[in-house]
């Protein structure tokens, strides 16, 4: 690299410098180089650190790089040393120093260069100390060609000679740094053009210094077209060179110099820091003009950056970040799998060169030749659509305000977007849709009413006519146009122009006319190169601003989506919550197809419930027949009376009915006619065989009338009245059975409520997710922050509890969720279920176990948990009949004795005498909170939900959103002024 820069400077100077060394021939005491390095170790240590940790400030670098120092040196030495030359030696020195720490300069150098030049895969890894060579061997391994194994011994020769050079020069009373710099530059020159350096290999190590220097320069001359590429090669092996030149850029005022250093550094580096570098040097200005020039120069020299072969006529592919050019042999190696389009492997993840934005997605012939269509298409697609290559939104300022991602997307996806948006400052008149560069006349009329950027400024287009349109002082050209369009502009009026061109004076109601109404106006506009509204402008209207319904591109979607994981044991109501969320937040909660499927499912369920009823009927019939044997019929008269009261069937009336049946001989109230009996038997048979799902969708049409008859039958009704005794029949069945006749009609369409109540809709395939946004609040005081919140997109993921084990394989898949909503059914406290070991266990205890295992899962280490205590409606009923102490976990619940206990957790409760269910809820909540904090030492959020009530679920999910928001903001401002959220949170959790 030093040689390269030497060439950039006037070569003569270098020669003269070289001549200085000419005198002393190199003697055999060359190994002396090492002690010299040792001398410099203190300085070197810093440099090496810096180089390794990317961006440390290196005290060493500055003195050497500073151009004034350069001058000083050159004066002292009487050498017209080019400043560019100095930049590079530094880095080399640093390199040497870094390696010098190991006291094995030559070896390390040898290895480093050896790897670099030979690109042999073997040499890299063996060199464990040297980070550089490690990197190089990446390249080597990428190549993997066995023929790339040059004898590294040759190179060792070269390097040896180079170190010798350094040594000898030192011995000749020259400034150490410069010496080393020059010396190493010379050696590097050799190694760069390694094919030529072979000639030199034979040269004995007792070369005269000047000779070597000359030699190296000669080589550089010879390889003139290659110089930049050799530099690029060299930059591989020494990252700190870049760092140091970055420093130059920072601390030196001489622009030419740092620009230079920067240049060389930027386009050749294969490290990933170049992004920082360019940013640091160029500041906010995205156009990198200086670099481009240099690139052109490069292009003329035109060899491949990787193999250094070819000339400028050979076809090459260009990296869209760093402008490195690769020939067809190297491009695939250098660019890898191109996940972001045509970027060198090291440039992946860096923003593209803005000047190349126009080329995005435009494939070269070379790639098409190398790869097949599918591959090319994917590369181009990735190039165009990957998030890294998008126009950085903050580069576009509208009305003085940099845009955010969503705004930029809105701007680009509107029906009439500004064409070929480039970074820069723009003004935008939201009312009329006029768009232009800041300080210039309007260039286009885009879709109006886009919510992007700040309010328009008076001087946005830098007009001086004192005529205003929508608060912007217009330019002379515009005024001219207005005058030609026949608009009365006397007296410096302030106009209010709408998107359709209608205008009125400010403060007045009546429209005075249409600016672009006349055909002549358009001509005038064309002449004055002013924009006219395109036809589509009129129609775009309001839909544009509907942020919720529009679809985001992939890259934005991923960024803004917040995932909520909804889990709970089966029966805890996760499914209901999920369906409720769908109904609440989706415009179309269920598609036609879904509804059709749900319909079949519900109908199948209803047949299932009917089957259970029929089964119960048979049982009851048998029982009542048995009863009849035991009781005489003396009560038949009474029974008749009671027959009308079937609805109030109880164990009591049972006998009476039995008596009544007895009267009809061989019949009980539970008996049905043979036809229905046949159907019943058939249905039961199908249920036993387990093929209900298979048979029923098809049979629905046929059997619907029969079901109607069946349902109206007294026997079924009688059985239904005793449904509490049928354990198999779920609570929810009554909802459907009472509508059975309607539901089983072929033209039945399930309502949202039906779907909400239906079982098995989401649990069928374990996992379900829904994307939603919270609808914008209707309240009028929507400040901008809230509006931004409404952009947040949420994904509610509901997973089946089944399969959650200790080593659950897929919990890790949800590591990107923001919050876990854990559902527990409050009414479970007296229910039992079989756990994994096959033993019966209280469902509340099972829930607790499950909760523990989820909470302590490493994936959810730092995650917020929202505990949803569900089914409060059922709980309210049940708690009156079954004491909470049924569950052993809650055995210290003594509500009457310890009302004060519950009061500490529900300070916000308005009700002074909370109901038993309220108390019980708070008690359970506290139980879980304590459990949670004992496990994680964090706070558990709790919410009370009645799954079947939309408002309740809505509240819980909004609470989840608040938690997320509070989390974010507490991260941003750790101060307590934002504690309003925390109090709010606690009010939710009571």
């Amino acid at each position: 690299m030093p040689s390269g820069r030497a060439n950039v400077g006037d070569g003569g100077v270098q020669y003269s410098f070289a001549m200085e060394y000419h005198g002393p021939p190199i003697t055999r005491d060359l190994p002396r180089a090492v002690p010299i390095n040792v001398d410099r170790i203190p300085v070197a240590a810093v440099v090496s650190q810096g180089s390794l940790s990317d961006k440390l400030a290196l005290p060493v670098v500055q003195p050497i790089l500073a151009s004034d120092i350069t001058n000083k040196f050159s004066k002292e030495l009487g050498l017209g040393l080019g400043s560019e030359c100095l930049v590079s030696p530094t880095s080399v020195i640093a390199y040497e120093r870094q390696i010098g720490d190991d006291d094995s300069v030559s070896k390390e150098l040898l290895l480093g260069l050896g790897t670099e030049t030979t690109v042999s895969p073997n040499s890299g890894p063996s060199n464990h100390d040297c980070r550089l060579s490690g990197e190089l061997s990446c390249l080597g391994t990428l190549e993997m060609n066995p023929d790339g194994r040059y004898g590294s011994g040759d190179f060792s020769d070269v390097i040896n000679s180079s170190t010798e050079l350094g040594a000898s020069t030192t011995s000749h009373d020259l400034s150490k740094e410069l010496l080393a710099g020059v010396g190493s530059s010379g050696t590097l020159g050799f190694s760069d053009s390694f094919d030529k350096s072979r000639d030199l290999l034979g040269s004995p190590s007792d070369f005269g210094v000047s000779n070597t220097c000359k030699e190296s320069l000669d080589i550089n001359d010879l390889s003139q077209p290659d110089w930049a590429s050799t530099e690029s090669a060299l930059s591989f092996d020494y990252p700190s060179s870049r760092v140091s030149s970055l420093q130059v850029g920072d601390c030196i005022s001489e622009p030419a110099c740092d620009e230079r250093g920067n240049l060389v550094v930027t386009f050749r580096d294969i490290e990933s820091e170049d992004g920082d570098l360019t940013e640091g040097l160029n500041g906010a200005e995205p156009e990198i003009t200086g670099l481009k020039k240099e690139f052109e120069v490069r292009a003329k020299k035109g060899t491949c950056y990787r193999c250094f072969k070819g000339n400028r006529f050979t076809e090459k592919e260009v990296c869209i970040v760093c402008d490195a050019k690769y020939c067809s042999n190297c491009v695939l190696r250098a660019m890898g799998s191109m996940p972001e389009g045509r970027k060198c492997v090291a440039c992946i993840g860096s923003p593209i060169d803005e000047s190349k934005r126009g080329n995005l997605g435009k494939c070269s012939r070379m790639l098409k030749r190398l790869l097949n269509d599918l591959e090319v298409r994917h590369i181009m697609k990735a190039e165009k659509f990957c998030s890294m290559n998008q126009l950085p939104s903050e580069y576009v300022c509208v009305n003085g305000k940099p845009l955010c991602h969503e705004e930029l997307h809105l701007l680009q996806s509107c029906p009439n977007p500004p064409k070929k948006l480039k970074p820069g400052n723009y003004w935008y008149d939201k009312v009329s849709g006029l768009w232009g560069k800041e300080g210039e006349k309007p260039s286009k009329i885009i879709s109006p009413h886009l919510n992007v950027g700040g309010p328009i400024k008076t001087d946005a287009s830098n007009g001086n006519t004192q005529v205003f349109i929508n608060g912007r002082e217009i330019t002379k050209v515009e005024l001219r146009m207005l005058q030609l369009a026949g608009v009365q502009c006397a007296g410096n009026p302030h106009f209010w122009v709408n998107e359709d061109g209608s205008y009125q004076e400010e403060g007045q109601k009546n429209t005075k006319g249409y600016i672009w109404g006349k055909a002549g106006t358009k001509l005038v506009c064309a002449v004055l190169s002013l924009p006219v509204p395109s036809k589509s402008t009129y129609s775009c209207g309001e839909q544009v601003n509907n942020m919720v319904s529009r679809s985001l591109p992939d890259y934005l979607e991923q960024a803004t989506l917040q995932k909520l994981l909804l889990i709970g044991l089966s029966g805890s109501g996760t499914s209901t919550m999920f369906k409720q969320a769908k109904i609440l937040y989706k415009d179309v909660p269920f598609t036609e197809d879904e509804r059709e499927n749900i319909k079949l499912l519900i109908q199948g369920n209803v047949y299932g419930y009917l089957g259970i009823l029929l089964e119960g009927r048979e049982r009851f019939e048998d029982e009542s027949l048995n009863e009849r044997m035991n009781y005489n019929c003396s009560r038949s008269q009474t029974a008749k009376l009671f027959y009308t009261m079937q609805q109030f069937v109880s164990e009591f009336t049972f006998w009476f009915k039995a008596g009544h049946a007895d009267e009809n001989d061989e019949k009980t109230i539970y008996s049905i006619c043979p036809r229905l009996k046949a159907f019943s038997d058939w249905l039961l048979k199908i249920m036993v065989s387990g093929t209900l799902e298979a048979v029923f969708p098809a049979a629905t049409r046929e059997y619907a009338p029969l079901v109607e008859e069946l349902w109206d039958n007294a026997a079924i009704q009688a059985t239904y009245d005793r449904r509490k005794e049928l354990e198999m029949l779920p609570n929810i069945a009554s909802y459907f059975l009472e509508r059975a006749v309607d539901i089983l009609r072929p033209d039945y369409i399930p309502s949202n409520v039906d779907i909400l109540y239906a079982e098995g809709i989401t649990s069928s395939n374990g996992l379900a997710c829904v994307d939603f946004t919270f609808p914008q609040p209707a309240s009028d005081d929507v400040d901008s922050a809230d509006q931004h919140d409404s952009l947040l997109r949420f994904q509610l993921i509901r997973v089946q509890a089944r399969g959650f084990g200790e080593n659950c394989k897929w919990l890790e898949m949800f590591e990107d969720v923001r919050i876990v909503i854990f559902c527990v059914s409050l009414s479970d406290y007296d229910q039992f279920a079989v756990d994994g070991d096959g033993t019966l266990e209280n469902k509340m205890i099972l829930s607790r176990k499950f909760f523990e295992s989820i909470v302590t899962h490493p994936t959810y280490d730092q995650l917020d948990f929202l505990l949803v205590l569900n089914k409060f409606d059922l709980f309210e009923e049940k708690i009156e009949q079954v004491p909470l102490t049924q569950c052993e976990w809650f055995d210290d619940f003594h509500p009457l004795m310890s009302r004060h206990r519950s009061s500490n957790s529900n300070s916000n409760s308005i009700n002074n005498s909370p109901s038993l269910s309220q108390l019980a809820f708070h008690y359970v909540a506290v139980k879980f909170k304590r459990l949670f904090s004992s496990l994680t030492a964090r706070k558990l959020y709790v919410s009370l939900v009645k799954g079947l009530e939309p408002d309740s679920v809505d509240e819980a999910l909004k609470y989840a959103r608040e938690i997320l928001k509070w989390d974010e903001e507490s991260a941003n401002f750790s101060l307590s002024e934002y504690s309003m959220y925390s109090t709010e949170a606690s009010s939710f959790s009571h």
Binding site: G124, T141, R149, S337, E727, N765, G766, L767, R802
Partner: protein, 406 residues
């Protein structure tokens, strides 16, 4: 019979079953300890053609093969750090890679990732040829059909979806699902096409079953395990079909066993292999089809013989602390001499199967993965190994320089 009575009986029955299970386990251990008559083990590694007759010599099952091989004077393989080199780095996924599969014609790879995409790669150019956006992002497995014309994938949606690679894409560039194989009641953890048949596929699932599917009809041909209680008692995590006899396949499960199945006999497993102390995450048939390897949460890989039903070898690296990294995925080299095993800590060991010696750790090489190795697979000609990792990349490793393929 009242419900309470039923419950009681159920409890009693469960207890009995558990007790029996325990006794069975004891018995089995006892047998393993004392059984000196391993009927026959014809341990032939193609390319090494080493014959092992273990029947007379070996008492302890552990270290069986290795002890014998050493006694025969076999020298361990030696690997330098540059013998296996990473020659391609497949970047393009934005989520954790969960699964990969090679085509039979050796140069294409399909990979499945948590970004909800299947990507088909050209391994030679390292370019994508297809990127399929999945309806359900939580994909766990993917497989190439033997003809290379379609790919299958499955995941938490409990459905195995088949995509035709030649079908035209819609306007967003998404491929339509050619066939949905639905019927599993739990997540689909693994799928593999029956060799040389594009129409049949075996999946394993979290519902404790494996299923043989007929893709043309989309129906289940047979279900292995599940309700009959003759199969796995926990999630099935992996399947591998015998390459030389495609009627046999082996499954690994969270119940710490591996089971051998015959597709003609769905009712019960041919054989159950005990030994692991953790979930069996990965099973893979040995190239000769008479043995198979397993990788488990207990940090070991094991080699089992399907004819004798015995464990031949344990491959275990001793870690100082107790939490050995889980084995996530395994693969055999084409000769079987090498066993590649990916670990949850990002290591990827190359085991000498014969001597049970770890010869190389790909995770220690300088350009190795930065995350857990989640899947690995060998190309059909054995010339390259592909590893997929949670660091979102896939890497292709090949023998560098002079070393020949083994």
């Amino acid at each position: 019979m009242s419900v309470a009575e039923l419950k009681e009986r159920h409890m009693a029955a469960t207890e009995t079953v558990n007790a029996l299970r325990e006794r069975l386990k004891q018995k089995r251990l006892l047998l393993l300890d004392t059984d000196g008559s391993i009927s026959s083990s014809f341990f032939a590694f193609s390319g090494f053609s080493l014959k092992l007759d273990l029947s007379w010599e070996l008492r302890s099952m552990n270290l069986a093969v290795a002890t014998y091989a050493r006694s025969q004077g076999k020298t361990p393989l030696t690997f330098g750090p540059t013998d296996l080199v990473c020659c391609r780095n497949l970047q393009g996924h934005t989520g954790k890679v969960y699964s990969l599969d090679w085509t039979a014609e050796k140069n294409r790879i399909v990979s499945a990732s948590q970004d909800g995409r299947l990507i088909v790669w050209n391994a030679l150019t390292s370019q994508k040829t297809h990127a399929i956006k999945l309806p359900c992002a939580w994909v766990m497995t993917c497989a190439f059909s033997p003809s290379g014309l379609s790919v299958a994938c499955g995941g938490l949606d409990s459905v195995c979806s088949i995509f035709n690679l030649n079908s035209p894409t819609d306007k967003d560039g998404n491929s339509p699902v050619a066939r949905m194989l639905s019927g599993h009641k739990g997540y689909v953890s693994s799928c593999q096409y029956v060799p040389d048949e594009d129409t049949h596929l075996i999946t394993s699932s979290g519902d404790q079953t494996c299923v043989l599917w007929d893709i043309t009809t989309g129906l289940r041909t047979s279900v292995f395990g599940g309700e009959f209680q003759s199969g796995h008692t926990a999630d099935v995590l992996s399947v591998s079909i015998n390459g030389s006899n495609s009627r046999m396949f082996v499954s690994g499960s969270g119940d710490t066993t591996a089971r051998l199945w015959d597709t003609r006999v769905a009712s019960r497993a041919v054989r159950t292999f005990h030994g692991h102390e953790g979930d069996v995450n990965s099973v893979k048939f040995f190239p000769d089809g008479n043995r198979f390897g397993t990788g488990s949460n207990d940090g070991t890989c094991r080699l089992f013989d399907i004819r004798t039903g015995h464990q031949l070898q344990v491959y275990q690296q001793h870690h100082g602390d107790n939490d050995a990294p889980h084995v996530t995925s395994i693969a055999f080299s084409i000769s079987g001499r090498l066993l590649f095993a990916g670990y949850s800590n990002g290591d990827c060991y190359v085991w000498d199967t014969l001597l049970a010696k770890m010869v190389l750790d790909l995770g220690s090489l300088h350009n190795s993965h930065g995350g857990r190795i989640s899947c690995l697979g060998l190309s059909s000609d054995g010339s390259a190994l592909c590893t997929g990792s949670w660091d979102t990349t896939l890497k292709i490793w090949a023998f560098g320089g002079y070393r020949r393929v083994i």
